[in-house]
Structures are given as C-alpha cells and as structure tokens.
Amino acid sequence: MANTQYLFSNVRLFVDDHCKISPNEEVLLLSDTSVDPVVIEAYAEAARSLDGRVTTMVMPYEEIRLNTVEDRYPLSVKQALYGADVVLLVALGIIAHYHPTVRPFITAMIEYGTRVVFAPGDAMIMTSEFPRFPFELVKAIGAWVFARWARSKTIRITDRRGTDFRCGIVPRAMGGGPAAGVRVRGANEPGVPGTFVTPAAAQGPLHTLPKAEGIAYFDEIEYPGFLSQPLRWEFGHQPGDERLSWVEAIVGGVEADRLNELIGRLKHMGYPAANLFSEIMWGLSPKMPFRTNPLYGLGFHGMAMTRRAGVVHFGIGSPPSRAAGNLAEAAPIHTHGHMFAPTVYFDGESIITDGHLVTLDDPEIRRLAERFGDPNELLTEVP
C-alpha cells in the first residue's frame, strides 16, 4: 500500500511538471496491455485531481511494435488523439517514436494542436527518485550542456571498448525534452499547443549530423534487442555533403544481421535513407535507475536508459516528420543503440567521462541544487 501511495504521489508530481492540465480539458490516457493497470490509474487520478476530463484507452501492445511500416492505429484511437486537449501516452517505451505509430501523433499535434506527453509506464521508474528530481534542476543541467554545445564545432565520443566517433555540430539541430535548452520560445514546453513533451531529461542533435566518422559500440540496441555479442555501427559521409551522415556498416552477430536485414528490406522498398545517421542524445537525470526496457526485442524505445545521466544513445533513420518532409532523407524506421559508459567531448572539453555527466560536479549546478536539498545526495547517480 505504501508503495502504491508513493507511486500515486510521484505520478502526480510528474503530471504537474509535464502536462499543465487546465480544468475541464479533455485528457486522453492512451496505454497498452504491457502497462500495469495500477500505473494507468495513477495517471488518471493525477489528471482528474487537476479537474481534467479523463478518458482511458488501452491497446494490445502487439499492435504498436516497430516491426511494420503500416499505420496500424484504429480510427477510434486516432479520433481520440485528435479530439483530446492533452494526451498522456502511458507506456514502457515511447510508442509514438517509430514510423508506423508516429503519424497519428504528429497529425494530432500539428493539425489539432493536441499536446502529447510521454508518460513513463514502468512502475519501477515511477516509484524511483526519478519523478521527484526537481524539474528546475534538470532544466539547469540541460542549459549548462546546451551552452557548451552551442559554442562548439565538433563532438567526439570514445569508450573503453573501442568506440571512437566524431562529427560536426549544428547548434540548431538540438532536440529533446523541456530540458533541451533550445531557445525557441515555447519549444517542448508543457501547455503549448502542438508540442510533444517527453520526460525532461534528455537532449541532443536530431537528423542533421554532419561529417560523422569512426565507430561506436553499443551495450544494447532497441531492435532487435538483447545483444549476444558486441555490436558496432561504422559511420561515414558523402564527400561534399556538409549536412548528413550515414551508418555505413552494422557489425556483430545475429542482432546485426537482423538490423541489416530490416534496413536492406527498406532500401529494397524504395527508402535509400534507411541507414541515415539521425540522432545523438544524452540523458541528464542522475536519478533514472539503471534499467533496461522490459520489452526489449519488441522494438520499444528504451526510455529509462536514454534519460539516465551520462548514457548516450544514437539513432538510425528519420521518418518524414523528423526529416521535415524531405522524403529523400526519410525512411520508415527510427531506432536506437545505447552506450552506457561513454566519454564525450565538445571541442575537446569533457562533458561526460566514463558515463559520468561532469555537469553534476559543476559548482554552479551544486549551488542551485542546495535550494532543493543536499547536493551530494541530489547529484549522485542512483544504481
């Protein structure tokens, strides 16, 4: 019972920070059968306590897997997305992240002004310290990193297994949750029509990643899932192309074979950009537990690890929404590989060292943390 009360209290904090629900707004809770019904009810109760008019829909999780290029959302779900003021997407992974499932959400946001909030559906995450980490503090951490990003020209990433990667920096390419630090008014901001608010703690460049070269080893990849042996991506770019880069090879056992097979199939279907290198992002929260996604192997976004401070994820493929309608750069795929202990430099300045976000040691951040409690406790990563 105590744990359930803690869950409800944490979920309420998350909803307060990320949703800005006004009285009588129509709130759709969209979830799937992989999520504990108690977690869904916790979100419903939080929305109701803010006087939202709550409707809950639960889909079979088999319907929202990565492994299809079809739009499989039922019309009833689409209509609910379009009609709601706020959609809380309660899931174990970001089910709106992949091409087959992303279009109804983009339509809801761009055409109907719906605010879509990704709400972690994993009870373990929502009973951890993650939802209680001060929102202002994670935004300050994001701003600290963004300030260094915006004045740098190159990013380099290494790790002890042999990752040695670099690419150019385009400051405008930065994306992520409300802590991304971008200076566009209203960007990723709770309460603004047409926004997709993901849990605050991640930022990094999207789609435009120039002059990538080198290799990156991953601890886990979202598709096809658990790794039986080390897997690496090898990067390159076309001479004279200043904007884009490509995953030129995926190497490492049966999992690499399956990802290569998927990309090969998409290319055969007429999507030459299926191997576009489309994302680098790092987590910012020291309180996200070290937790792999319970649905690995089913193509779900591994939300937990991508928000953990110091963990970096790379993306391959951009649906038309990420490619801003440029179909020459789009393909019906977007999936990630995760690095748990990278070292990251912006123009030679260390931002992450062996998986530790050095921002957490910064005196300015620690002074800010004092407003919320003991900085040593607040800024130390949980196991």
């Binding site: 983009i106 566009v184 209203g186 603004v192 029509p193 047409g194 929404s321 990420r322 801003a324």
Partner: protein, 128 residues
Amino acid sequence: MPDNTLSALIEQVLARARVAPEGQAELRRFDHVFQFMVTDRPAFHVAIRSGEVTVVQGEAQALPFEEMETVRTDAATLRALFEGRARLVDLGWEGRLQMPLYGPKMHITAWLNRLIKLAHGIAVKPQG
C-alpha cells in the same frame, strides 16, 4: 515583375485570421519569420511580430534559428494549404512541403497551421 499572387494570398489569409474569434491572441502567441522558398515562384517572406503581419518580396536577411523558419514547396501546394484545401501534415508526409513536423520547431508549424484554420473558420478540434 514579381509574381505577388501567392504572397498576397497569404497576407489575406492572415488578415482573416486576425478578425476571427481568438485570432488576435493567436497571432500574438509567437514572433517568427517564415521564409517561403517556392520552386516555381520568386521567394518571399512573412514576418509575424507582436501580432502584426508583414509580407515582403525576396529572401529575408539571415536570422537566428530561433526567429526564422524556411518553408520549401511549390506554388500549387502552398496555394492548396493556405486556401484550406490540404492538410499540412499530409503535404509533409507526401514530400510536397518541407517544414518542421517534429522537434523544437513543431509547435511553430502547428501555430501557422492554426492561423490558417482560424482564417477559414475550420474548427481546430473535431466537432461532435
């Protein structure tokens, strides 16, 4: 002689948005410059600042990312969008119009789209 037809259409549409219920407040929601790069017409740009709309022939002066967005399309597609005959998301998904549909500028796209709907009296939400 520049072809002003498209830019005139957009000016008219945004003027109609202003007189629609909630139109003035919606126009004031953000400040932004939209650079229209039209494949078969001369470029022009539209500045919306403090709710005031200015349409200018030619490309805009370079501005920071935070203040300007480029829309790439052809004349027929742009006309269909601003006449309320086509959905912006569909045009983007079909590769007929390029502007942000994801990331830190997607709400700016949603805002411009909402202004078009206000101008044409198209309900933003489905009606029961």
